[in-house]
Amino acid sequence: MSHLARVPWAPLVVLAALLVPAFGSRFYTFVANDVVIWALFATSLNLLVGYTGLVSFGHAAYFGIGAYTTGILMKKLGVPFLLAFPAAGVLAAAFALLFGLFCVRLTRIYFAMLTLAFAQIVWAICFKWNEVTGGEQGMPEVPYPDLAWMGRLPWLDGLRTSDHFYLLTVVLVALCLFLLHRVVGSPFGRMLTTIRENAERAEFIGVHVRRYELAAFVLAGAFAGLAGGLFGIFNRGVFPDFAYWTKSSEVLIMTLLGGMGTFYGPSVGALALILLNQQIVSYTEYWPFVLGTILVVLLFGFPGGLGGALELLGRRLWRPRRA
């Protein structure tokens, strides 16, 4: 095994992430917070796309549901974050179960279109249900959770609330990613890959394909909901466009950019896309043009995404030692 593979990358990255507020400005913490949340969102989608082979065009629906759940609970009902956050995951999972029941009956393009239709329905409801969701205006001023206890910890007393929230986000996302990583490496995860590879064969080793697909759908929806719950607070407001199809396409692109063949690919994709966006937007207003061009280059040149390209590079440069 090459030396590089022995390095415990994951804990190092988490450590680095935790140190951002100490070394970076408020802006860096802001960007990092964005990246971390989207990394969770993209990884949740990858469970469906990369591991089970189900391409969803409507994953933002669960992101939006999670965001609205946490937002409504915390802003309107004063529910503490400790309950409001998991509630985001639970409610998103419930809707994923409901929608998923119908979606997994369909194949490929029809599956994708139905996920899109359901997502647009969620968006339409968020957009119009003024009483509950604030309608088109959304719900600005979602409160931060009570983080005063953080100020009493050593090292952390000098930081702002937004920094405290960022640290909390890092810990929560790291936990979620760890859970997802376990799932992916488990027998359940392996069954999902058999479905992706060859659903017919999977059936004949005893895999009830539809049931597993539904389970993956619900799990992916749950974690997307958790990401949404965090995002609503981070964004200081929840808005209907969280569930709009363009959000779904953004997260899908991140997943692809980073490479759906690997676990950390989508997170890398989230990092890359957000940083790129920040950079490009400061030079030109034509971000979609740039994004489109990047996509085209990716599609023709690097179908494995960044993760795939890095893997290839890694294999060439650091040949593993064999006896």
């Binding site: 392996r190 064969r201 895999v207």
Partner: protein
């Protein structure tokens, strides 16, 4: 062990399988033969639940299993290999077989234990009996055609079946590969006490190991009996006139 009664299936008016009936005795080696398009694969698909039949019954060990979906049927002791090699192409050989064990031994819904060390012994043992142990780490899609078919066999065997349905197990193989595969299948069947039902084009193979042959033509059974009977059957000779193998 396996009884098939009056199985019928049509596609948009084209009758693929028509009132097919035959029996498979426990421990026997039976073959289904017939020219291309006779409906052999469709028949297999009907028995294994991949397709819904329009009429007829399939009885396994006295239990009616007509239309039972594949994922349930394979837990009842039915194993199957496919005509077009059907493996998990991007997984390694080891992972392919391990997946079958994971599913069959009921661990499929375990979402927390890392997969690495589960069923290691069983997987390696099976790979050895197939002759694929030295290639365990290779990606399945890159194996030779013959090796892939052996892997397919392995996937079916991992489910500890009582009866094995093999759809053209030697399709596309050279003469030597065919002999090897047949020897392998024969040995494994005897070692594990399996009942075999297979379809084949290669007459040499069929007549060498099958004890009972059912002949299909245009979806109907035209002969059913021992190899000697079938060889002598007039209709069979007519249908196969001009086909030499």
């Amino acid at each position: 062990m396996l009884e098939v009664r009056d199985l019928t299936k049509s596609f948009d008016g084209f009758v693929a399988v028509s009132r097919v009936s035959f029996d498979v005795a426990k421990g026997s080696v039976s073959a289904i033969i017939g020219p291309n398009g006779a409906g052999k694969t469709t028949l297999f698909n009907l028995i294994t639940g991949h397709l819904r039949c329009d009429a007829g019954r399939v009885v396994l060990n006295g239990r009616d299993v007509t239309g039972v979906p594949p994922h349930d049927l394979c837990r009842m002791g039915v194993g199957r290999s496919f005509q077009r090699t059907n493996i998990f192409a991007k997984l390694t050989v080891y992972d392919n077989v391990q997946a079958a064990f994971l599913s069959h031994r009921g661990r499929g819904w375990n979402a927390f234990t890392p997969v690495r060390d589960l069923y290691r012994e069983e997987t390696l043992r099976l790979l050895e009996s197939l002759g694929l142990a030295d290639r365990a780490g290779e990606v399945a899609g890159f194996l030779s055609h013959g090796a892939q078919k052996q892997l397919e066999l392995g996937l079916a065997l991992a489910l500890e079946p009582d009866i094995l349905l093999l759809d053209e197990p030697t399709a596309g193989m050279s003469a030597s590969e065919t002999r090897e595969t047949i020897q392998l299948i024969d040995r494994l069947a005897r070692e594990r006490g399996l009942t075999l039902l297979f379809t084949e084009h290669d007459m040499e193979v069929v007549f060498s190991i099958a004890r009972k042959i059912t002949v299909l033509h245009q979806g109907r059974v035209i002969a059913d009996g021992s190899p000697a009977d079938v060889r002598a059957d007039a209709e069979v000779r007519r249908v196969y006139l001009g086909e030499r193998r």
